[in-house]
């Protein structure tokens, strides 16, 4: 059984498993090549729902013939009763905008503790559709909104109304009926704080579990809604959608720069996610027994991944080139594994020498699929207490050594190089939206967020060396009294030194920084697929494609919806 002590001894000390080094894993480009895995939050959310047989039933279903109105689902989970409340409103095409600055949406939703009575529903009705312009109370713990994928939505309604099924090759291109444009939790807009969710709502006490659940419910509602509208449109000809086609619909997502600061501002949490993923890989590397059945599964998964990649549609040249390279690498990997695999260590080493980062990381995700028994119990260890504590007694020589060892990447970065400090991250007065500008903009430069960790470490190191010239025997506390401006970065350095993986190893102030890598890393931990960058600043992707339907709860479940393929028609 996995316990915190088992995890600690597997990560550090004499009994530690062979983890990949931080210099490899925390490289930004590699983080930007991650794929979904068994430990992604969508997968763990669905596992819990299916294994615990959550009861999810509509308690209010008030939609007109066009699908507008109010729907409330009651969700009976093992530790509590919750309500998923959804408002569907008319939105004209010209008002449909996926940006965070939008003010109206097709659907708005809330996840609420307990049952919702008429009075409370009215209160939600007055606030949830307004999103940022509204206020809710601490009974609500997730708020979200979504916009229709207009072409797909109308097409699917028309097909069902005609008594025909939607074409799966069309769904493979755009695999959703709605796109979420924001999913809020953690106390935004007056909602319950994460501290309450974590301590009181055990069913959602894993990172982003509530947020993922809302997206899953949105996906299920979208399927219900198209059938509802089609049925009213043509009651005589209407045919419901086939279950296997329904499962191939996910939920679209647009993710912009907002996620990037989150990754830098929650280093202990990110480290925890990475540690669990790497620990899972290390377990497989050492303990994963290889036999013919496993080899067969491996090859089937590689074939599936190749088809999934072929089905991934993007107009972005950079991502297209990555996908083409991935397909070549997967073909080579397939050749390699078709011969005979006897050691995961050897196969992983081979991939590092012969494949792109995308393929190397996809292989990691595939290996995790093969050994649920070695991997799945780590899902309970993805939370982190986010205390960046100063170690006041640490001698300055030790602090210097820590910087030289753990932040050698920062010390070796040439910050005097042209463009090394050109990017600045700032918040706009428009909904405090994070934006990425140039230091040429004086206001943006002056008001930039403190995301340049590498540069801050470099400055701290310089000041530390200078201070140590006269005060070499001092400890960190004494240095902090003399150099209080260094407090934030010293605390971070010391705290991240206590972790296996630590900080993202990249200069985020560089002119050529690709925020897309940060977005993709977080989205991979969420469990999304079909990455479709729309610029270097935002990406479309698909959530929950292939996941079980609400009607599948209580049915046999093998948790095999990794890289889902279009059903055959």
């Amino acid at each position: 059984m996995t316990t915190p002590a088992v995890i600690q001894t597997s990560l550090k000390g004499k009994n530690a498993l062979p983890l990949r080094p931080a210099s490899q894993v925390m490289d930004l480009e590699r983080l930007g090549a991650l794929h979904q895995s068994r430990l992604s939050f969508m997968r763990t959310t669905v596992r819990h729902i299916m294994r615990e047989r959550w009861q999810i039933e509509p308690s209010r279903f008030e939609l007109d013939a066009d699908g507008y109105g109010t729907v409330v689902y009651e969700v009976q989970a093992p530790h509590g009763l919750f309500s998923f409340v959804l408002f569907s409103d008319y939105l004209s095409p010209e008002e449909r905008n996926d940006r965070v600055i939008a003010t109206q949406w097709d659907l708005t939703m809330a996840l609420v503790e307990g049952q919702v009575d008429d009075i409370y529903l009215q209160k939600l009705r007055e606030n949830v559709p307004k999103q940022e312009a509204g206020r809710v109370d601490a009974r609500v713990f997730v708020l979200s909104r979504a916009n229709r994928s207009a072409r797909n939505f109308d097409y699917v309604v028309d097909q069902l109304a005609k008594g025909e099924q939607p074409a799966t090759d069309k769904i493979a291109k755009v695999g959703y009926l709605y796109r979420t444009t924001a999913v809020y939790g953690s106390g935004k807009l007056g909602m319950a704080d994460w501290e309450k969710v974590r301590t009181k709502h055990k069913d959602f006490a894993r990172p982003f579990a509530g947020e993922m659940f809302v997206c899953l419910m949105l996906r299920n509602f979208s399927l219900l809604q198209v059938e509802h509208i089609a049925h009213h449109k043509s009651p005589d000809n209407f045919q419901p959608m086939a279950a296997e086609i329904k499962r191939f619909f996910g939920i679209g997502n647009s993710t912009g720069l907002g996620m990037a600061p989150y990754m830098v501002n929650h280093p202990l949490l990110l480290n925890q996610w990475i540690e669990m993923r790497e620990l899972a890989l290390a377990r497989v590397r050492v303990l994963g027994r290889i036999n013919d059945s496993i080899r067969q599964q491996l090859n089937a998964l590689i074939t599936r991944c190749a088809q999934y990649t072929r089905d991934t549609y993007t107009e972005d040249q950079w991502q297209t080139a990555n996908n083409e390279q991935l397909l070549k690498d997967l073909a080579a990997l397939h050749t390699q594994t078709s011969a005979s695999v006897t050691s995961w260590d050897e196969l992983l080493n081979w991939s590092e020498e012969n494949c792109s980062l995308e393929c190397q990381e996809l292989l990691v995700s595939v290996l995790l699929e093969l050994y649920p028994d070695l991997v799945d119990d780590l899902e309970d260890y993805q939370n982190a207490e986010e205390f960046l504590d100063l170690d006041p007694v640490m001698p300055l020589q030790q602090l210097k050594d820590v910087i030289e060892t753990r932040y050698s990447w920062a010390l070796s970065t040439d910050f005097d190089k042209d463009g090394a400090l050109e990017t600045c991250w700032y918040r706009s007065e428009e909904k405090m939206e994070p934006r990425l500008g140039s230091i040429a903009d004086k206001e943006a430069r002056q008001k930039q967020m403190a995301l340049g960790v590498g540069y801050a470490v470099r400055k701290c190191y310089n000041q530390l060396c200078e201070y140590m010239g006269d005060n070499g025997t001092h400890n960190t506390a004494r240095f902090m009294v003399a150099r209080p401006k260094m407090r934030g970065i010293v605390r971070r350095i010391q705290s991240m030194n206590r972790c296996v993986y630590g900080d993202i190893q990249a200069n985020l102030l560089d002119r050529n920084v690709l925020p897309m890598h940060l977005l993709r890393c977080k989205l991979a931990f969420f469990g999304v697929g079909k990455f479709d960058p729309r610029s270097r600043l935002w990406v479309r992707n698909t959530m929950f494609q292939g996941a079980p339907l609400l009607e599948d709860i209580g049915q046999p479940f093998n948790d095999d919806w990794f890289m889902p393929l279009a059903p055959k028609q």
């Binding site: 996926d98 319950a192 918040r427 706009s428 428009e430 500008g437 600043l537």
Partner: protein, 248 residues
């Protein structure tokens, strides 16, 4: 107005950042205010009193160590608010206590000392016991003490109105810190003390549970002022700026 703790923390961080607090300090300051409010000790009232002076506190000289030996130190905070200087003093006490078992730090010329409670609590969580004592008030003198045992999550806090004559050094604070001895404090029932109140760690824990369950109520004018100050870290929404956003 109802707000979440996370909203309060984020708004306070922007507020202190806008006031010129350094990275590390603005997080500390926001956490200090939030901690008091979350634990039922009126952090927002304390902040409201400090707010008119908040930018001035940043312009003062940095704290200096006036005297130091292995178990004690005297620090002059040069009329700064404890919001942007006290954490370093508690860290120094913490380090000396770890090295020598027990340490005393006296801080002079420090405002808003109530905010020290968050820093004390961090010490307790990390296995160090701390006690603090201070007086305040120019005419009516109040006295205050707080303490936390090693490995505890909540401190105790006592305050009383005294009949002491106005002290010339009303901005002083004494911190005692130990890695060996569990320190507790309660104000003596001296003849002059009136309206003494003692809040136990259990009461503070109860207050926290209530805040976690229901969030926080804030005076709308104060909330607007915190956000108004914090808006100085936001960049004007120009056409160029819109091009620098993620999204279509």
């Amino acid at each position: 107005m109802h707000i979440s703790m996370n909203e309060l923390k984020a708004a306070l961080r922007r507020c202190f950042e806008a006031c010129g607090y350094f990275v590390g300090n603005y997080e500390d300051a926001a956490n200090m205010v939030l901690w008091l409010e979350k634990h039922g000790l009126n952090g927002l009232n304390e902040l409201e009193q400090a707010l008119p002076y908040i930018t001035q506190f940043c312009d003062r000289p940095l704290s200096t160590v006036v005297y130091e030996d292995s178990t004690s130190a005297i620090i002059d905070s040069h009329d700064r608010s404890s919001l942007n200087c006290i954490a370093a003093s508690v860290d120094l006490a913490h380090a000396k206590a770890l090295e020598n078992g027990i340490a005393t730090i006296t801080v002079h010329n420090c405002h808003n000392r109530m905010f020290i409670l968050k820093a004390l609590t961090d010490c307790g969580r990390r296995g160090i016991s701390v006690a603090a004592y201070w007086q305040s008030g120019n005419e009516t003198v109040t006295e205050h003490s707080a303490a936390i045992r090693a490995d505890e999550r909540y401190p105790s806090y006592s305050e009383a109105i005294t009949s002491l004559p106005a002290n010339t050094d009303v901005k002083a604070l004494t911190i005692i810190c130990s890695s060996r001895v569990d320190l507790t404090t309660s104000l003596q029932k001296s003849r002059g003390n009136i309206d003494a109140r003692h809040i136990s760690p259990a009461q503070i824990a109860d207050n926290k549970n209530q805040s976690v369950e229901q969030g926080i109520n804030v005076n709308e004018a104060l909330w607007a002022e915190i956000n108004r100050i914090g808006s100085a870290v936001l960049v004007e929404n120009t056409r160029q700026s819109q091009l620098e956003a993620g999204g279509r």
